[in-house]
């Protein structure tokens, strides 16, 4: 462990070996071994994490979780259907792995975002105080874990796990903090951000060692202002900077090979990259298929290391935007280009969490910003649709193997009590927080009010 003594040499030697010795104090085991919120967490939190897998572009409800096989050709899923492990529930046929795991899922068929354009709602919207939902978590627990430096709120883009794919980009400011303050901006592995820049040593380690040594000398000469918490944090800061512990949580090459292979979705990359659509030429379908599995793996590692909220941004400008208009693929090709990687990645994640005993500790949410039109357009595409959108929840201790709500016969609107992003955000907040405790803290009144909204029924 780090002890900064005033004896020259010794302190310095110790200090400079921190980088390699760092594992003693801040090993991957200690980073990854603790639950998302440890024993010292304030009682405001439940200890659960949330991963929000956001499918940019507006995924189709028909080709995914609400296929409507009984409808005529121009309406029903273009992919055919598959029976699932839940009797009577069918998914689109491009989801064979998730169909087998349907008993682990909660499928909401009455969800509407009431939004028909490209943006990043519900991740950032007026319903989340114009901040990434994860900022609400960060605001309550702090931007980093005090013991490890692990950020509590992250966004994972495709290029966070693979430097060779097209750089990730969302249709809006996914780092928005609203009025919660820049300190709560999500940590974006591979994409900078102030916290991440501060986690990387910006001066030679020799120079930091000089300064630390000088500081220790001066400290010993000065009347001490007693603040053990700050002393501890300063030592932690040296450790974090020199050992790169957080970086290790991000390093997928440290993951077990079998696990890595199980998550890997690179097999779904098509050799021509779907060049017939402009998004294909830009490399978006390739980036999506190549990275999505690893994005989920990284999200799982982040949660294990103490990150309470991870946004996975999938699909760049919108690989799920299946207009069939030359920019985008249509429904048939879009389903082929987008869904298998999703099916594979989420199935790998669910199995992995189950095996690691994390199923109840992590809530996975899957949605986009909207759904797609019931009727195919004349190019075989589906256009924007505000009144119904796919939403799937898994884990987090929610009862599973259920379908909540029903859509109308044409798959265009909820036929039962609709759920909207306000319900979803309340469900997420209830998963993260002890809402009863939270509302006793006036400091968090604005956040607590969001949790007072009704949750998704029975979720």
């Amino acid at each position: 462990m780090l002890t900064l003594t005033t004896q020259r040499g010794l302190a310095r030697r110790e200090f400079l070996t921190l980088g390699s010795l760092g594992f003693a104090g801040l090993s991957l085991a200690s980073l990854l071994g603790r639950p998302a919120a440890g024993a010292q967490s304030p009682p405001l939190v439940t200890g659960r994490s949330v991963i929000y897998l956001f499918l940019q572009g507006g995924p189709s409800q028909f080709e995914t979780f609400d296929p409507k096989p009984e409808l005529p050709d121009s309406l029903r899923t273009v992919t055919g259907v598959t029976e699932t492990s839940v009797p009577g529930v069918r998914f689109g046929s491009k989801l064979p792995q998730l169909a087998k795991l349907a008993d682990k899922l909660t499928v909401v068929r009455s969800f509407q975002t009431n939004n028909g354009g490209h943006n990043i709602e519900p991740i950032v919207s007026p319903s989340s105080l114009q901040a990434n939902i994860g900022c609400l978590y960060s605001r309550v627990v702090g931007a980093t874990r005090p013991d490890t430096g692990m950020p509590t709120n992250s966004v994972v883009f495709a290029d966070s796990v693979d430097s060779k794919v097209l750089k990730g980009k969302a249709r809006g400011d996914i780092s928005a903090t609203g009025a919660l303050g820049a300190a709560h901006a999500p940590f974006i592995p591979g994409a900078g951000g102030q916290l991440q820049r501060n986690l990387k040593l910006n001066l030679p380690s020799e120079r930091l060692a000089d300064r630390a040594e000088l500081a220790a000398q001066i400290d010993a000469l000065t009347e001490q202002i007693d603040d053990a918490a700050l002393d501890h944090l300063q030592k932690q800061a040296y450790q974090v900077l020199l050992s790169g512990g957080v970086a290790k949580a991000l390093d997928l090459s440290l993951e077990d090979k079998t696990t890595l292979d199980r998550y890997d979705t690179a097999q779904y990359v098509r050799s021509d990259g779907w060049r017939q659509a402009k998004r294909g030429q830009a490399g978006m379908y390739t980036g999506h298929a190549k990275a999505l599995g690893k994005q989920l793996l990284l999200a799982r590692r982040l949660c294990e290391a103490g990150c309470g909220f991870v946004t996975i941004h999938d699909g760049y400008d919108g690989v799920w935007d299946w207009h069939g208009d030359g920019n985008n693929l249509g429904a048939y090709d879009g389903a082929e280009a987008c869904i298998p990687a999703l099916d594979h990645a989420v199935a790998a994640f669910l199995e992995d969490c189950e095996a690691r005993g994390l199923a109840d500790k992590i809530l996975l949410v899957i949605s986009g910003e909207m759904g797609r039109t019931p009727k195919l357009n004349n190019r075989g595409g589906r256009d924007h649709w505000a009144k119904l959108a796919p939403l799937v929840l898994a884990g987090g201790g929610l009862p599973a193997g259920r379908v909540i709500g029903q859509s109308t016969r044409d798959g265009g609107e909820p036929a039962t009590e609709p759920s909207n992003p306000k319900h979803l955000i309340s469900t997420i907040l209830h998963s993260l927080f002890d809402a009863g405790q939270l509302r006793l803290e006036p400091e968090f009144a604005a956040i607590s009010r969001l949790a007072e909204h009704a949750e998704i029924p029975a979720a």
Partner: protein
């Protein structure tokens, strides 16, 4: 080493009327004097205690008085005797329960002394009294947390079973339990099979586990209630008017204990012991703990420790005073009434304070707290050289007269008055104007009541009438009254919107009476203008500013439960008849500014006390509820009186506080007061506020942070509203003005802050700024250059050893003078002495 005279004061101060009287030679001996007498408390000669019915019980409180006049709780140590036997049972804690009808006498013996006998009468065992649902069943749900906000008490209930929060609505509970759950929860034919009992006793799987045992008195009373057919009880059954905790206050050594008894007084004039039905909670869990049976145990900290007792909708507190018991001999001469009261408290507690701190420490402390900045090098040198004995007072006056005072306090008020923009697209003029108005009000020392009146009664349009911006953030009545109550009265009454306040006396009636003051408002949102189409000859549509207008209606609010109109009423005051053409808010401002108002002045002086001492006399500073008593009630009262007598003069208040020796005490702890946060026996260091810290770093490095949208000289404390996105300010806890609570401003240390100060390119850039350049190229000896930094950063001369260490460091780095000075500055700004006001 003992100070006998001290204890007399404490004994008479904290032990209320019903306690035995001391003999005038009391002492705070840690080892007790020999026992003089023991008594059973609350027994009135000639009036026997009564136990009516099988569920009745009585907690005896047995107090021993020693020859030094000191009291000791013997409730769990005395031996009890009841004669004749077989009428009552008494457990070792002094809890009496009935066995058979009849009369008995009880006495208690300890250390060879026996108390006077107390008579007790047991009745109504042969024929049961009907169980009262509201008075006997519902309190069980509260006691065991069944109806807590995290469980069945939350609005949607828990797993389909709902109870009213903390049992505030027994009629609703009756409906949920008996009528809605027909046949499921209650089986009158086989009470033990009732789901209610099986779940609560853990006999059927229950998410909340076993709450009480199947043979406990709580189980039995519910079972008998079901046996009796689960009646609600008569509609005119007596209700609890108030509860009383006995003793109300006691002096308790550290690591000692005191049994409490709780008596409920009913509307029909009867009283009953409800100790075991009462829910107890320590207000300062770090200072005391309390068992479910009401046994309070003190811990190791010194000062006041309250315990809250709750029975039905009533609350009461027990106040323990935990002394340190050291002689307090060296007190600085009192400068004013603050010192008299702080020192009296310290003498009572036997807690010796630290001495008064040195001049330069005071200079830095007062400059930061009054003017929100570090003293300049010139100020440090001048203050050190000033031989005037009154130089501290002169400094306070000079700082109060400076623009910096108004700027700094405007920074504070701007946040809690919600002077904020929601997004960068909001135009800045309205918030800038409100900020300017606040600065101006403080600079001209507008009386506080006037200041508040102008905010509360603001009307007209933004910019022209700057304080209307408060209403832009508190748009609906709920927000208006809750913010006004919290901000100006220290009352968090939000809970009473939906239910009786769980820790206070406020009911929904109080809440909506207060809401009615705001019922004439007509708030018009700003509208953006529209450019007309010139080709089509369309004119431009002008935008509309944000406006606050008044409607001419009779002010009332609707009580959501009764549906009745509630007229305006100040909290705890009678309703007012206000004409529809009058602005009810004026009457509210009148009510607040009334010298007899019990909240207004206290809330402000407590808020300012917190500003200067880091902790309110009531803490949190805007939560002045009765169950959160002040650590020094006399001082809070005296400060409030002073403030009223001086016509709400804010500068005078600051002057009075800063002038006190209590404020000027050293932060260095002595052998006794390192843990003291509550009694102000030393100055407790605290981290500089985000804005002050950033300005301080700028001043030391001579590298000014610039902010978009304001002039380049603007310092962080001068920023007019929240919307200047800056990672430094945010990570160091600048508030976002999203609530009326000062708790938004966080002084907590975080790892992200350390990383930023240690390693951000931002900081590294500042370190390479003008200061290190100048010092690196300076030709003076290193010692002089380093002295400069000490004066600027720490407002003091370097000590020889410090100077030697720095000089040696710089000399070892001959290559690049500037780099060495970057390291020196880095080191200084990362010391706690720099980061803290101390």
């Amino acid at each position: 080493m003992r100070t006998p005279l001290v204890a007399v004061a404490i004994a008479s101060a904290v032990v209320l009327g019903s306690a035995p009287s001391g003999n005038g030679t009391a002492a705070l001996a840690a080892e007790p004097g020999s026992l003089r007498a023991i008594i059973i408390e609350l027994a009135v000669p000639g009036q026997p205690l009564t136990l009516a019915g099988r569920d009745a019980a009585r907690q005896l409180i047995v107090t021993g008085t020693d020859t030094l006049g000191k009291f000791r709780d013997l409730s769990s140590r005395a031996t009890y005797r009841a004669q004749p036997a077989g009428i009552v049972a008494i457990d070792p804690t002094g809890h009496v329960t009935p066995l058979a009808e009849g009369n008995a006498t009880i006495d208690a013996t300890f250390g060879g002394k026996t108390s006077a006998p107390v008579e007790i009468v047991v009745s109504h065992l042969a024929t049961d009294l009907p169980v009262s649902f509201p008075n006997q069943v519902v309190p069980v749900f509260t006691k065991f947390g069944c109806n807590a906000g995290g469980c069945h008490g939350k609005a949607e209930g828990q797993n389909g079973f709902r109870l009213s929060l903390l049992g505030f609505e027994p009629a609703d509970d009756y409906q949920y339990l008996v009528q809605e759950g027909r046949g499921r929860r209650i089986f009158p034919s086989a009470p033990e099979h009732s789901l209610l009992l099986r779940k609560a006793a853990g006999l059927t799987p229950h998410g909340g586990g076993e709450r009480f045992a199947a043979d406990s008195p709580y189980y039995r009373v519910i079972r008998r209630w079901i046996e009796q057919g689960a009646p609600y009880g008569p509609a005119d059954a007596p209700v609890v008017a108030r509860i009383e905790v006995f003793p109300a206050a006691r002096l308790l050594p550290r690591d000692s204990s005191q049994q409490l008894a709780v008596i409920a007084h009913f509307s029909d004039g009867t009283a009953a012991d409800v100790t075991r039905m009462t829910q107890f909670d320590p207000v300062q869990p770090e200072m005391s703990a309390v068992s479910a049976t009401g046994l309070v145990t003190t811990k190791n900290l010194v000062g006041g420790a309250a315990v809250m007792a709750r029975f039905q909708s009533q609350v009461a507190v027990f106040q323990a005073t935990i002394p340190r018991g050291e002689p307090v001999e060296q007190l600085p001469p009192a400068a004013n009434f603050i010192d008299e009261l702080v020192f009296e408290r310290l003498r009572d507690l036997g807690l010796p304070p630290s001495p008064v701190g040195d001049d330069l420490t005071f200079l830095r402390r007062a400059t930061i707290d009054i003017a929100g900045r570090l003293p300049t090098r010139d100020e440090v040198e001048a203050f050190a050289a000033d031989a005037d004995a009154n130089k501290r007072s002169a400094l306070i006056d000079r700082l109060l007269g400076s623009d910096d005072y108004a700027t700094y306090f405007a920074n504070k008020w701007s946040a809690i008055l919600r002077n904020r923009r929601r997004s960068a697209s909001d135009k800045p003029e309205p918030t800038f104007a409100f900020h300017e108005w606040i600065v101006e009000s403080l600079a001209t020392n507008k009386p506080y009541d006037q200041f508040v009146r102008e905010v509360l009664t603001a009307q007209g349009e933004e910019v022209k009438s700057p304080p209307v911006i408060w209403y832009r953030e508190v748009k609906d009545q709920t927000a208006q009254l809750e913010d006004a109550a919290q901000l100006f009265l220290g009352q968090r009454i939000g809970c009473a919107r939906c239910h009786h306040h769980p820790f206070e006396k406020w009911s929904q009636q109080d809440y909506y009476g207060f809401a009615a003051f705001f019922s004439q408002l007509d708030i018009r949102e700003a509208k953006a203008g529209k450019k007309g189409n010139a080709k089509k000859n369309e004119p431009d549509t002008p935008g509309e500013p944000f406006r606050v207008l008044l409607k001419a209606n009779t002010p009332t609010a609707v009580h959501p439960r009764t549906g009745l109109a509630v007229p305006p009423a100040g909290l705890g005051s009678p309703p007012l008849a206000i004409d529809k053409n009058d602005d009810a808010r004026e009457k509210l401002a009148d009510w607040m500014a009334d010298p007899a108002n019990p909240f207004f002045a206290r809330a402000l002086v407590n808020r300012y006390w917190k500003h200067f001492f880091g902790r309110g006399l009531v803490d949190p500073e805007d939560d002045l509820r009765m169950t959160n008593p002040p650590s020094n009630p006399e001082l809070l009262g005296a400060l409030a009186r002073h403030f009223v007598e001086h016509r709400f003069d804010l500068k005078d208040l600051v002057r009075t506080i800063c002038h006190s020796r209590a404020y000027q005490l050293s932060s260095t702890p002595n052998a006794y007061n390192a843990d003291d946060r509550q009694n102000f026996s030393r100055f407790v260091p605290r981290r500089l506020h985000a804005e002050v810290l950033l300005d301080a770093i700028d001043a030391v490095t001579l590298a000014k942070t610039s902010f978009k949208g304001v002039s380049p000289e603007t310092r962080a404390v001068e920023l007019p509203d929240n919307l200047f996105d800056n990672y430094f300010l945010s990570v160091f806890g600048r508030p976002d003005a999203a609530s009326a609570c000062e708790c938004e401003r966080s002084g907590d240390a975080t790892l992200a802050q350390c990383l930023h100060l240690f390693n951000s390119t931002d900081m590294l850039g500042k370190l390479a700024g003008k200061r290190s350049q100048t010092l690196g190229n300076d030709k003076r000896p290193h010692a002089e250059r380093i002295r400069d930094l000490y004066l600027v950063a720490l407002a003091r001369e370097p000590r020889p050893a410090e100077l030697a260490a720095f000089v040696a460091y710089v000399e070892n780095k001959p290559k690049n003078g500037q780099e060495a000075y970057e390291d020196v500055i880095w080191t200084l700004v990362n010391t706690k002495e720099f980061l803290f006001n101390h």
